[in-house]
């Protein structure tokens, strides 16, 4: 091991030299959104006015932010693929502090934020799940985001464009190059875009989605390149803190039905077991009409689990019941292992929706599950 690695590990294993608690090891996605050092940052406390394309760009007054794309694609030969790409921004200091630091040190390397990106391709035909991650500081121009034209990037991974967007992610084992055209306008999730996550005021995020995006392009899995077509889902969220201390993560569903409806639902999980009262979702009709779904509207039952290498159990088959319409679906991951075994570990993968009780496939979607406690 070379010398400088010591430095890196020191930097990255930040807890290694500091106090360690069982909950912090291993680090989970949910923890990115927790934490108590929020002074100096804006908080999501009241609904705000959203404006596009401005709000596609960054919100540096908030501590965390992400740009998130998932999609189900089909190749010309019928081969089915799923993909996800996420860019995470994490402020290193509140904006005012960052500005005053810049006055003291004019180095372009002085960064106000640190970035992480994740990408994955699931080959639903042969069960392969390939994934990768990137890290970077923001400056000098190594990672960042801008609104108009949209550009979100980390190294050579990028989402960019004005009217149509181009997604370009090239990793050693896989590549995703898609042209994205939204089929529906953005919808504001929660209370006009304010998505309350925890009980405390401010433990919330601003959250909007573009739930249906026509996607076309190329996906490479290993050495095989597929010409693909399909639907993507775009989620945007920014916050300073979101989760309460007693939350262990969430189960998040983004479902696209063949009849043109889209449904998002997240179940916030409490350490005590049940779903947090702030679990919620939204339904977008084929014409773009949005309808809020509360915890009482959706019922979720875990039917089958897949155990991750680190002992965490993730539900890979679910039954979802929509009490408002009386519909019931079986939601199943065709590939059980779509585990993101990265610095931040979670399960994220493509799912198929079957109508119950006739088990007829009626749509596809993406499921994300984060866990902190091993008992899952």
């Amino acid at each position: 091991m070379c010398l400088r690695l010591g430095l890196i590990l020191l930097v990255l294993c930040l807890t290694g030299c500091v106090e360690k608690t069982p909950r912090q090891d291993p680090l989970q996605l949910g923890q990115l959104l927790g934490g108590s050092d929020v002074s100096g940052y804006d908080r999501a406390t009241t609904p705000r006015v959203f404006e596009f394309p401005r709000d596609h760009g960054p919100h540096p007054a908030f501590r965390n932010e992400w740009w998130y794309l998932t999609g189900n694609l089909v190749a010309k030969d019928g081969h089915r693929l799923g993909y996800q790409v996420t860019f995470f921004r994490n402020a290193l200091s509140p904006i005012e502090e960052a500005q005053s630091l810049k006055q003291q040190n004019p180095s372009q390397w002085l960064s106000d934020s640190a970035w992480m990106a994740h990408a994955a391709v699931s080959d639903l035909g042969d069960g392969q799940h390939l994934y990768g991650q990137r890290f970077s500081r923001s400056s000098p121009g190594l990672a960042g985001a801008q609104a108009n034209p949209l550009r979100v990037w980390l190294d050579d991974w990028s989402l960019s464009g004005q009217k149509h967007w181009q997604l370009k992610v090239i990793d050693r084992n896989f590549a995703i190059e898609l042209d994205l055209r939204s089929a529906k306008p953005p919808v504001l999730q929660g209370n006009k875009g304010l998505s309350q996550k925890g009980r405390a005021p401010g433990n919330a995020s601003y959250y909007y989605s573009i739930t249906r995006i026509h996607s076309r392009g190329k996906v490479r899995v290993g050495d095989v390149v597929y010409e693909v077509d399909g639907l993507s889902w775009f989620d945007r969220e920014w916050s300073t803190s979101a989760l309460d201390d007693d939350m262990e993560g969430w189960d998040w569903f983004a479902l696209q039905f063949d009849d043109g409806r889209d449904l998002m639902y997240y179940q916030l999980r409490e350490f005590t077991g049940g779903a947090h009262p702030n679990s919620q979702g939204g339904r977008v009709a084929a014409n773009g009409q949005y309808e809020l779904l509360s915890r009482n509207d959706i019922d979720l039952v875990e039917l089958d689990h897949w155990r991750a290498p680190n002992g965490f159990d993730y539900a890979v088959r679910w039954r979802m019941s929509d009490r408002t319409t009386g519909e019931q679906w079986l939601i199943e991951a065709p590939v059980r292992n779509q585990y993101m075994d990265l610095a931040v570990k979670y399960w994220e993968g493509a799912v198929v929706i079957y109508e119950l009780p006739n088990r007829k496939p009626v749509g596809r979607g993406y499921l994300e599950m984060t866990r902190i406690n091993p008992e899952g």
Binding site: M1, C2, L3, R4, L5, G6, L7, I8, L9, L10, V11, L12, C13, L14, T15, G16, C17, V18, E19, Q24, P26, L27, Q31, L32, G34, G35, S36, D37, R63, N64, N90, L92, S93, A98, L101, N105, P106, S107, Q108, W109, L110, S111, A114, W115, M116, R134, F135, S136, R137, P140, G141, L142, W153, D155, D156, S158, I170, L342, A343, V344
Partner: protein, 848 residues
């Protein structure tokens, strides 16, 4: 039947050995001491060499972080946007930016290494177990501190040495500017030695500390084979992509010659020790001729006797070899500092000063010591074994054998020396070839010494014989009669003295050459330079001001920097001067009109070392990496230079500025107008410079000379130390030999005392004898020393470093060696003389 007999005879023999060794602790001890010292020297030099080489490798590794390739730029560094482009446009994520500088902490110079912790993750292919993005408070604090605050990271060892704890603030001195930083964290390095002396910082902090914004020094890369060419094509002009493995190897090779030289010096000590061993063993054979004769008469075979002597020597060698190893390790710890210091001065700044104990070094020294002892004991052992039992009993047989062999030894020695000389004439010889030839000469010389000793003694007798008193004549004859021992003692001393003469004359000549060269090359009366060549420049307004000042007669402007060439990084000096860039005295060879061509053509002058090592001469060409890409310059001439063993390029300032986008001036030199008092002038110019003292330093020519010579002397500290060690081994050798010789004469002395010689007369006689031997050794050492100096200057030094050195007769070196020879012989004779004087005639004669 045979078994018990043989067992009995073996134990009898061994008991006889043990008895002898025990009865002669002085002899055994001195031989052991000689072996121990020689082994210690071999071990120490090897350990020091190995440590220094390891330090060199670690230093290189630590600054390239195990990358497969590096992108390097010109003197101004690399525009940091290139790095952004490399990652965001090309996606070379196994890449990391690096900026380097030197900082001082508590008076210690450390290497500041600025990099980007995020980039390093991918570069080193690690999957971090945790993530810097985590924002729980305890997690984010270190990364925030490191990325946004003036903070650094040290290895635990370095922090400990500096007495610093995490979160403590401390000051860094960067070329005189003091900046405060926080120790963000310490880390436990896998190889603590390699991290020693390194200060890690985030790129933003490092740029701020060094005051170098917008640039980085290099980009470390891990490239797949198929990525190399596309990247090379993409690189903007002025940047180069190099294979770090090749480069490290080349850099390491630079100091190889230096290490070989030290090893050769340590082997010389071994040779002196060999003479000592031959001497001691011969003495022990002579001393025991009675018992050995009895053993032979009792039926002990010749081979058993040879084995006995050899085993005896080997046992002493093993015991003292172990002691020598232990001493060598201790000595190595001292030497490694000198060796590393010299490498830092001559080749590459080493931030690592680790002491590495390589067991192979110890084994090497031990085996060499044992081998030398074994081989050295063979001759006397064979002598003891080959004689008939009755002959062994007679001492005179041994001496007459020696006398018979003297002409043959002389002839053989002369042939060896001649062979060595012929070998040295071989034009394309290697460094080791040079050492081997020198070795032949040395061995040949040693073989000649007993015969020469006899000749000289006879000559002295013939010329002065009748003028001497009886005791003096007896002393002179004593030398001749005991030539088996006196010859060896004189050889050992002469060899050691010739080493000190040879090395001393070489260093003295080198020093004189450098002094002469400094006089020629130091143009101007005042030399002003920036404190940091990488970041600072002599202010343009100051240059302008001085140029137009009536106080300045002439102004020379210099930019010193490193450029990449096909031979690796080389120093380049771009000069703007109203006088020729090189004075005619310093030119070895040149093209016609080199002066005008230097300004008009794209040509360079190269230093002698570069010309020698790369077989370049005027008319050839050299390719340099300029800011607009690679460019071939013709070599217009070769000049003498002693500042760099790697080589130096000299270029006209205008040509330099044309090819490099670099406006910096790193030094100027000023000449004072005629008829102005030097002292007053210096004072007045210095006053003008005071406002710039944060970035500039200035010296008079005399000051530069002093500094240069101090550096020169520091470089040779290690050589001087080894030279002293050889002398110490030789002292042991001569004391041992004289002691043997004199102790053996006890009966003779007793007889003389009985015949009425006074103790004082006897003492004088013994001292005359030893003093005479010292005189002869010193006389013989002079020509050999001169030959050795000549070989060191013309062959060894040239093949090692490529420098031309003028031979200077450093008389004080000869006088020192002369005095040393006589003095050490006299000192060695003191104890035997004292013993002889105190001898009770009756006791001494009892044996008779």
């Amino acid at each position: 039947m045979t078994m018990p007999m043989s067992l009995k005879s073996v134990s009898l023999l061994h008991r006889s050995s043990w008895g002898y060794l025990r009865r002669h602790p002085w002899q055994t001890g001195l031989m052991g001491l000689g072996i121990a010292l020689a082994v210690a020297m071999v071990v120490a030099v090897d350990v020091a060499n190995a440590s220094a080489r390891r330090a060199f490798a670690l230093t290189l590794e630590s600054v390239t972080a195990g990358a497969s390739h590096q992108i390097l730029g010109g003197p101004s560094g690399i525009d940091e946007r290139i790095y952004t482009s490399l990652r965001t446009d090309l996606g070379f994520r196994s890449s990391a930016p690096v900026i380097r500088g030197r900082v001082r902490v508590q008076g210690r110079t450390l290497i500041l290494l600025g990099t980007d912790p995020f980039s390093e993750v991918a570069l080193n292919g690690v999957q971090p177990d945790s993530l810097a993005l985590a924002d729980a408070k305890v997690r984010i604090n270190p990364i925030r501190v490191l990325l946004q605050q003036p903070s650094v990271v040290l290895s635990q060892q370095t922090a400990q040495q500096l007495g610093l704890k995490s979160s403590e603030s401390f000051n860094l001195d960067i070329d005189g500017a003091i900046k405060s930083v926080v120790l963000a964290a310490t880390f436990e390095a896998d190889n603590a030695a390699a991290a020693e002396g390194l200060v890690f910082a985030d790129m933003s902090t490092a740029q701020w500390l060094l005051g170098r914004f917008g640039v980085i020094d290099s980009i470390d890369l891990h490239l797949q084979n198929d990525e190399v060419e596309p990247l090379r094509e993409w690189l903007p002009a002025g940047l180069t992509l190099i294979d770090t493995g090749n480069r490290q190897q080349r850099l390491m090779q630079m100091s190889a010659a230096f290490h070989h030289n030290l090893t050769a010096m340590s082997l010389l000590a071994l040779l002196v020790a060999a003479l000592l061993i031959v001497n001691t063993v011969t003495f022990s054979v002579l001393k025991r001729r009675t018992s050995l004769g009895i053993l032979r008469s009792l039926g002990v075979t010749r081979s058993e006797l040879i084995r006995l002597i050899c085993i005896e020597t080997l046992i002493v060698a093993v015991v003292f070899g172990v002691l020598g190893c232990a001493f060598g390790v201790a000595l190595g710890q001292v030497l490694v500092r000198f060796v590393s210091g010299t490498i830092s001065d001559l080749y590459f700044h080493l931030h690592v000063t680790a002491f590495l104990l390589d067991y192979r070094s110890i084994a090497k020294g031990f085996v060499l010591g044992l081998g030398t002892a074994f081989i050295s004991s063979l001759v006397p052992a064979w002598e003891a074994g080959k004689s008939l039992p009755v002959q062994v009993l007679q001492r005179s047989v041994v001496e007459s054998g020696w006398h018979r062999r003297l002409p043959w030894m002389l002839l053989f020695g002369a042939v060896l020396a001649a062979l060595g000389s012929a070998w040295l004439q071989w034009p394309s010889g290697s460094l080791w070839g040079g050492f081997a030839a020198l070795g032949l000469q040395v061995v040949g010389f040693c073989l000649c010494i007993p015969a020469l000793l006899m000749l000289l003694v006879k000559l002295i007798m013939a010329v002065f014989g009748y003028g001497f008193g009886i005791s003096t004549r007896m002393a002179v004859r004593g030398i001749a009669r005991g030539v088996s021992r006196s010859g060896l003692a004189v050889a050992a001393l002469a060899l050691a003295l010739s080493v000190t003469v040879g090395v001393g004359v070489m260093i003295g000549s080198f020093r004189q050459t450098v002094i002469h060269w400094l006089e020629q090359s130091l143009q101007g009366d005042m030399h002003i330079s920036v404190r940091n060549r990488n970041t600072q420049s002599v202010p343009a307004d100051l240059i302008d001001d001085l140029r137009h000042s009536a106080e300045v007669f002439q102004l020379r402007q210099i930019r010193r920097t490193l450029v990449e060439t096909q031979f690796g990084p080389l120093r380049l000096m771009a000069v703007a001067s109203p006088t020729p860039l090189v004075t005619p005295e310093l030119i070895m060879a040149s093209e016609a009109n080199w002066q005008t061509r230097l300004q008009e053509d794209e040509g360079v002058m190269i230093s002698e070392t570069l010309a020698y090592h790369r077989s370049l001469s005027s008319g050839d060409s050299i390719t340099l990496l300029t800011d607009v890409g690679e460019k071939t310059f013709s070599v217009l001439g070769v000049f003498y230079d002693y500042t760099s063993s790697r080589g130096l390029l000299l270029m006209d300032d205008q040509v330099y500025r044309q090819w490099w986008r670099d406006q910096r001036v790193t030094a100027i030199s000023l000449s004072r107008p005629p008829n102005v008092s030097a002292e007053l002038w210096h004072q007045r110019v210095a006053e003008r410079l005071v406002p710039y003292s944060e970035t500039l330093q200035w010296h008079s020519s005399e000051g530069i000379r002093t500094l240069s010579l101090a550096l020169f002397d520091r470089t040779f500290t290690i050589t001087q130390a080894l030279r002293l060690l050889v002398i110490v081994v030789a002292m042991v050798a001569i004391i041992s030999a004289l002691l043997a010789l004199q102790l053996e004469r006890q009966q003779q002395y007793a007889l003389l005392r009985a015949m009425g010689m006074k103790p004082g007369q006897l003492m004088a006689m013994v001292l005359t004898e030893t003093g005479l031997m010292g005189l002869v050794a010193a006389l013989l050492a002079m020509p050999m020393g001169v030959v050795m100096a000549d070989v060191l200057i013309d062959v060894i030094n040239r093949r090692s470093f490529g420098w031309s050195i003028q031979f200077y007769w450093a008389w004080e070196t000869f006088l020192q060696a002369f005095a040393l020879g006589i003095l050490s012989a006299l000192v060695a004779g003191l104890y035997p003389a004292w013993r002889a004087a105190r001898l009770q005639p009756a006791n001494g004669l009892r044996e008779q």
